[in-house]
C-alpha cells in the first residue's frame, strides 16, 4: 500500500486535497506552514488506517517521516531567526545592541549578587516548610469498578507469561569465506553476474553474509560493483573485465556514474 500516505485526502481549513500536494505547496512556499492544522492531518491518517482495518507499518513509517519533516518546517516558521535579524544590523546598531544586552546582563548579575548577600543575611531565619495548606488536595477519580471485571484482570495477571522465544540465539551464520570462494568460482567461469539473482534463493541472514563477502572481494580489488540506480540489481564483474568495459564503453558512465563503485586496481 505505498500510496496510503501520499494519496491521503485532507480537508483542512487552509487546504483541501491530497497530502503530497500539500507537501509540494509548502515546499514551494505557496502555503504558510503556520496555517496548517497538524492535528487534523494526524486524525485523517488514523481514520484512514482504521477504515482499512489492518496495520500498515510501511505507511505508518512513511507518514511519520513526512509528518515530522512537516512539523519541523512549521516549528522553524514559528520562531524568528534572531541571528539573521542581527546580521542585518549596521555596525553602529550592532554595537548599540551589544551594549544594551551587556548592560541588561550586567544588571541581572548584580541582582544575583544582591540576592547572594541577602541570602547570607537570612541564614539564621528558620521557618516551617511544607506543601501549601490551602492547596486543594487532588481527588483520585476512579471509574465505577465491577468486581467480576477486577477478578478477570487479576486472573490475567496471574497467568503464566508466554515463553520468550530464544530462536534467534540459535541463528548460525554461514562463514563469509564460503561466499568468497563461491563468488570467485563463479567469476572464474563468467566475467560478470547479478548479485541479486545469485542470492535470491537464500535466507535473509545468508544474503547479508553474501553481501559482506562481496564487499570483501571489492576491498581486495578482485571485483567491480555497479548499480544502475538505488535498489537496482547489483552487478558484479571481474576487476579486469570491468576495466576493459570502462575503456570500451565510456558513454555508459553517463547512465550510471554515481552508483558505480568500480575500484581501480
Amino acid at each position: 500500500m505505498p500510496s496510503t500516505v501520499r494519496d491521503l485526502e485532507l480537508d483542512l481549513d487552509a487546504f483541501e486535497g491530497p497530502f503530497d500536494l500539500l507537501l509540494t505547496l509548502l515546499l514551494k512556499d505557496a502555503l504558510e506552514p503556520a496555517e496548517i492544522d497538524m492535528a487534523a492531518i494526524v486524525v485523517s491518517f488514523v481514520e484512514r488506517l482504521a477504515a482499512r482495518d489492518e496495520l500498515d507499518l510501511d505507511a505508518c513509517g512513511e507518514f511519520l517521516v513526512l509528518f515530522s519533516a512537516l512539523l519541523e518546517l512549521k516549528a522553524r516558521g514559528l520562531f524568528p531567526d534572531e541571528a539573521a535579524e542581527l546580521a542585518e544590523l549596521e555596525p553602529e546598531e550592532a554595537a548599540e545592541e551589544l551594549a544594551r544586552r551587556l548592560a541588561e546582563y550586567r544588571r541581572m548579575k548584580e541582582a544575583a549578587a544582591w540576592l547572594v548577600d541577602r541570602l547570607a543575611g537570612e541564614r539564621d531565619r528558620f521557618f516551617r516548610l511544607g506543601p501549601a495548606p490551602l492547596q486543594p488536595q487532588p481527588e483520585r477519580q476512579l471509574a465505577p469498578q465491577a468486581p467480576a471485571a477486577l477478578a478477570e484482570a487479576l486472573r490475567g495477571l496471574a497467568a503464566e507469561p508466554p515463553k520468550v522465544s530464544l530462536a534467534h540465539m540459535a541463528l548460525r551464520f554461514p562463514p563469509v569465506s564460503q561466499f568468497v570462494a563461491r563468488f570467485r568460482a563463479l567469476l572464474s567461469r563468467r566475467r560478470l553476474f547479478d548479485f541479486d539473482v545469485e542470492v535470491s534463493a537464500l535466507s535473509r541472514v545468508e544474503q547479508a553474509v553474501a553481501f559482506l563477502a562481496l564487499l570483501e572481494l571489492r576491498k581486495a580489488g578482485e571485483v567491480a560493483l555497479s548499480q544502475a540506480a538505488p535498489f537496482a540489481p547489483i552487478r558484479v564483474a571481474r576487476a579486469g573485465a570491468a576495466r576493459a568495459r570502462e575503456a570500451g564503453a565510456a558513454h555508459d558512465e553517463e547512465r550510471t556514474p554515481q552508483w558505480t563503485a568500480a575500484r581501480s586496481a
Partner: protein, 201 residues
C-alpha cells in the same frame, strides 16, 4: 482546675480572634494573607489586622522563641534568630543549599522580569537556561505561569512565595531598583568603543 484561657495577650476586644489567628499561623506551612486568615477565621479583615498587631507585639524578636513576620505578601511564624544555631543543628535549609551562580542569575531574571520564558532567560544570559530553570523549579523557587502568546508559545516562569520567604522579602517590591544595579548602557558603550579604538591603534 482553672479552665480560663492562658492570657498570653493583654486584655483586648479581639483577644479571642487573636488566639484563632495564632492557631492558624501555627498550622500553616506558608505565609497567610489577611484575606486568607479572615476567611478561615470567618471574621472581618480589619479585626484580623488588629489581631495580627497584637500577635506581632507578643511574637517579636527578643521576646519569644517565635517571631511573627510579614513576608511574601502575608504573615508567618518563624524561629527567633537567637535560636538559629540550635535550629541549624536540628535541620538544614535545603532550598537554597548549593544554588549555582547560573541559578542565582536565572532566579534574579525571573524575579525582575517574570513571567518570563526560558528562551528569554537564555537570550539575556547568553547560554541555555534549561538546567538552571529545572533546578529552580525543583527547589520550588520558581513555578510555571502560563505560556507566551501565539501558537507554540514557550512556558513562562515566575518566582514563588517560597522565593520571597527564603530571601526574606516582604514582597518583590523590596528588591532593589534594576536601574540602580550595574553599569548603564552608556558606560558600557563607551568602554566598548575604547576597547575597539585600542585594538585599531
Amino acid at each position: 482546675m482553672d479552665s480560663r484561657p492562658l492570657r498570653l495577650i493583654a486584655a483586648n476586644p479581639v483577644d479571642a480572634l487573636a488566639r484563632v489567628v495564632e492557631a492558624l499561623l501555627v498550622v500553616a506551612t506558608a505565609p497567610l494573607s489577611v484575606a486568607e486568615i479572615a476567611e478561615a477565621a470567618a471574621d472581618d479583615p480589619e479585626r484580623v489586622e488588629t489581631a495580627l498587631g497584637l500577635l506581632g507585639e507578643r511574637y517579636r524578636d527578643g521576646r519569644s522563641g517565635i517571631v511573627l513576620e510579614r513576608v511574601a505578601g502575608g504573615y508567618a511564624l518563624r524561629a527567633a534568630r537567637e535560636a538559629a544555631e540550635a535550629c541549624a543543628r536540628l535541620f538544614e535549609r535545603p532550598v537554597e543549599r548549593g544554588l549555582s551562580q547560573a541559578a542565582l542569575e536565572t532566579v534574579a531574571i525571573v524575579a525582575y522580569l517574570g513571567p518570563v520564558s526560558r528562551p528569554e532567560i537564555a537570550r539575556i544570559r547568553g547560554v541555555s537556561a534549561d538546567s538552571a530553570v529545572a533546578s529552580l523549579v525543583e527547589r520550588g523557587l520558581i513555578a510555571e505561569a502560563g505560556r507566551e502568546a501565539g501558537p507554540g508559545g514557550a512556558v513562562r516562569y515566575r518566582v514563588t512565595a517560597l522565593f520571597e520567604r527564603v530571601f526574606g522579602l516582604e514582597s518583590l517590591a523590596a528588591l532593589p531598583r534594576l536601574d540602580d544595579l550595574g553599569d548603564g548602557t552608556e558606560a558600557i558603550r563607551e568602554r566598548l568603543h575604547a576597547v575597539a579604538e585600542a585594538r585599531a591603534s
